[in-house]
Assembly symmetry: C2
Homo-oligomer: 517 residues x 2
């Protein structure tokens, strides 16, 4: 019944087969939870919401119990002894190291804290929804307070060297610290605030044609055509509809994307599809030998986001990409864009305009939203900002970073779900992903000078292969900073992204006065 | 039996709360497996098949391990002590009794036999697929042999009084024995063989119009309209497409049906939808207090089938049903059936014609296919028929029961998947379901003389309510024979079904010479 898995697991190292069987069972339960979560956002009947929450709680609790069990410790010990003479880069050694880290971290958090977090997150999420609806911050504030307290406890339990934020960040971006993020974000802030101001002060290109009606059926064909063209394997994945687009790896052989289809905003679904496809290509590119192991995942949220941003922005909003696809788009849309030129389309999909809502932000101003969130969550956790003062600090920050003032909480401090889910240390990964994407893209185009010509010809195989061989295939075997340094020869830096933005948008807004680095 | 109240799980009995928590975890894992299975037939990408098989094996094994654990035994013992003074019909007493039976049966089968069965079933299923494709019985025969041996062992392990078949039948139809089935089926055979001959000797009504093209989108609207009309709750359920229609209860609040859409055979999908809706109405009708307990299921496969057959045939192929729906159908199909009368449509969907394939059989001849399968599987298990001689016995039986000869194995002995899945004792439940449906329908129409008028007016609420209150609400709390006797005042009999068939088809084929009982 398990010949397939034994072959796969044996390929990692025969001595690890018992550990791998144990991990595979955990992976199976996690995969089931992932499918239940995917289903919840796509096909689940509304009336099943409460029983689904209980099913998911059971599965997550079970996977956690198995991970922190004595059995894991014993198997790890035996495995560590078996691989001690292997070279450090052997997959078996990496597996043991990653699992040991997961195991030790998970065991550091007392079960009572795990339970308190789960309960409070669930309640806070409901409170956040109601607070949004009523535009009433007081409804949410006590839950935020409790979540901060619990997350400080969690950080203390996990342990850290310099800053309690390190322990929380580490859950999403292993290998990076609060100090790293602070340094990078400060370098970014200095240049980006004036840059964004300069571009957004310019007259906006025409873009009303993007709101023309496009039949949903046609949009699905368009999005699936793009997926196929860039190499997303629909035999090992799907594209469906959901309110908020997302991607999820049920397994390496089962990667699911969602998008949203708005008949009067076809590029919204199109770029959501390309974004999620970037995540999906990463998951599909993981070495199949890692199926049903904890290595079958991205190295970090930042690196994951780098792949989605790379396909969405550096490729999907580039001129060479549309030099190839725009004629196909015009044809597929049968007349809708016949009076629009490639250049006008390219300008429209790249217009810069500060806005209140993070998820609607353009490529240039997006990171400003993240700088603000990082600043605020750090201050909240440190106790330098009270929960009560958060809305005011938010509005002050929006003014400082983007020159805008929210008039409702819904388009202000209550716009994101993350904090209500107890996810502190998560936001920075969005910007880290943008930075990584630009740094990887620079290395890729240096190694593959033909990348631009390939895009102009609609041939994405060389680009995908380059990413697969250097990033995707490793899954979680190496941390993101290690992979990045290995692939680009440099630690993470802001310069590649700033240069990319300057060059691209200076060409789009030639009248903007932009200083060089 | 006490009427069930719509309260929460804990309300079954406070002393059972620990047992219920334990059972709820098992139910959650089973629900996850059910969703993975549903997904496999509906949306799963083809490339995920092998990893999905491993995920499912893990979940099923886990649910089994938890059920047979010492913990279950301890909780059962405590629960039994807590409820010993309650009346026998108290839900808490029923729960303890059903779980104890499940627990004891599951523990009787040695783990090695469970594993051998799972492995052999999986291999046999693959062999069956290949044998079908190659029309090569020898490819499948050795697996059938092993499955028979293992199922004899299983029956011995489970234990039985009169016949080893009892132990196998009991898995699907608790409370019935091989002797019961033999007696009922013999009574049926005597009358049904000449009856089927008499009807099928008559000239066939016109039915070519059923093969007219109907756009799939329109068929989906039609099927969903019917679901809503008969009371299937699409807020707590879904209808999707799959190759073989099925229904599955992920939870009482999450019941999923599938159908198949053939542009040139719209009634195939329509009756599949009504059939699966019958199953689905049963699951949706279970008392919500039973959610996440092992009682949240049908009492038996036969009783489940009675509900699907009742909605598909006794209601869905009745004249009163179409007196209401036919004008709506004509309107929805915009012209496709404008030249067809209600009577011609009613005759066409009820034509009797012996055929080789069970799943395509009409209401009259269907049970003959089951009589043959029961006869053969009983003889195989008893050793009165060798695996080698099975194809010949099949063909001889088809001649005897239906006057037909298969020319390929695919339309003969290899047509059904059941035996390859090790499901012996399953087939009779189809016919038991048909018999139960007629017996329940007689009781229903006696209690609700207005049922026919309700159908003519498209009002199915009184019928559904009657079934809900007497059958659905109890889930697995009572065995099928108990419920049937309670509701109809009689044990299961063939007469109601025979009378229903005689009356309905004598009217459709007045020239047929049919003897009265």
């Amino acid at each position: 019944m398990q010949p397939m898995s034994q072959t796969r697991l044996a390929a990692i190292h025969p001595a690890l087969s018992e550990l791998c069987m144990h991990l595979a069972r955990i992976a199976d339960v996690r995969a089931a939870a992932a499918l239940l979560e995917w289903d919840q956002e796509t096909y689940m009947p509304a009336g099943a919401a409460s029983v689904r929450a209980e099913q998911l709680a059971t599965l997550h609790q079970l996977a956690h119990e198995w991970l922190i069990s004595e059995r894991t410790g014993e198997l790890l010990e035996a495995a560590a002894a078996a691989v001690q003479d292997l070279p450090a880069e052997h997959l078996a050694v990496r597996l043991v190291e990653v699992v040991r880290e997961d195991y030790e971290k998970a065991r550091r958090i007392p079960p009572a804290l795990v339970a308190a977090l789960a309960r409070t997150e669930s309640e806070a999420c409901e409170a956040w929804k109601q607070a949004r609806q009523e535009d009433n911050y007081a409804r949410f504030a006590p839950y935020l307070e409790r979540l901060l307290t619990l997350n400080r406890e969690k950080a203390e339990a996990l342990g850290y060297e310099a800053h309690l934020y390190d322990a929380l960040l580490d859950q999403y971006e292993p290998g990076m610290t609060a100090a790293d993020v602070q340094r990078l974000f400060e370098q970014l802030r200095v240049h980006l605030v004036p840059l964004a101001q300069a571009f957004s002060a310019q007259p906006q290109p025409e873009h009303a044609f993007l709101q023309r009606y496009v039949d949903p059926e046609r949009q699905w064909r368009l999005n699936r055509m793009l997926l196929k063209a860039i190499g997303f394997d629909l035999q090992r994945g799907r594209l469906d509809a959901s309110v908020h687009p997302f991607s999820t790896g049920i397994a390496i052989a089962d990667v699911r994307l969602t998008t949203r289809i708005d008949p009067h905003d076809f590029t919204s679904g199109l770029f959501a599809t390309l974004h999620e496809a970037g995540h999906g290509l990463y998951e599909q590119g993981i070495d199949p030998v890692l199926e049903r192991t904890p290595l079958a995942d991205g190295a970090s949220l930042g690196l994951h986001e780098s792949q989605s941003r790379l396909w969405e922005n550096l490729i999907g909003r580039s001129l060479p990409f549309w030099e190839y696809f725009f004629p196909h788009l015009q044809q597929l849309l049968e007349g809708v864009l016949d009076d629009v030129s490639l250049e006008a389309f390219y300008r429209a999909i790249n217009r810069v305009q500060p806005s209140l809502i993070r998820v609607e932000a353009d490529e240039v101003t997006y990171n400003l939203h993240i700088l603000l969130r990082f600043e605020l969550e750090l201050a909240l956790l440190e106790g330098n900002l009270s929960v009560q003062d958060l809305p005011e600090a938010w509005n002050e920050g929006m003014q400082r970073y983007l020159g805008l003032q929210p008039t409702t909480l819904r388009e202000g401090v209550l716009q994101d779900i993350h904090w209500s889910q107890g996810a502190f240390g998560y936001f920075p990964t969005y910007t880290l992903g943008n930075l990584m994407a630009a740094q990887l893209w620079r290395a890729l185009t240096a190694a593959l000078p033909e990348a631009v010509i390939c895009m102009q010809q609609g041939d994405f195989q060389p680009i995908l292969t380059w990413l697969r061989e250097r990033i995707h295939t490793y899954g979680r075997a190496w941390k993101a900073p290690v992979l990045l340094e290995q692939v680009t020869g440099r630690p993470l830096e802001v310069e590649p992204w700033l240069t990319y933005i300057r060059e691209k948008y200076q060409a789009l807004y030639p009248a903007a006065s932009v200083s060089l680095l």
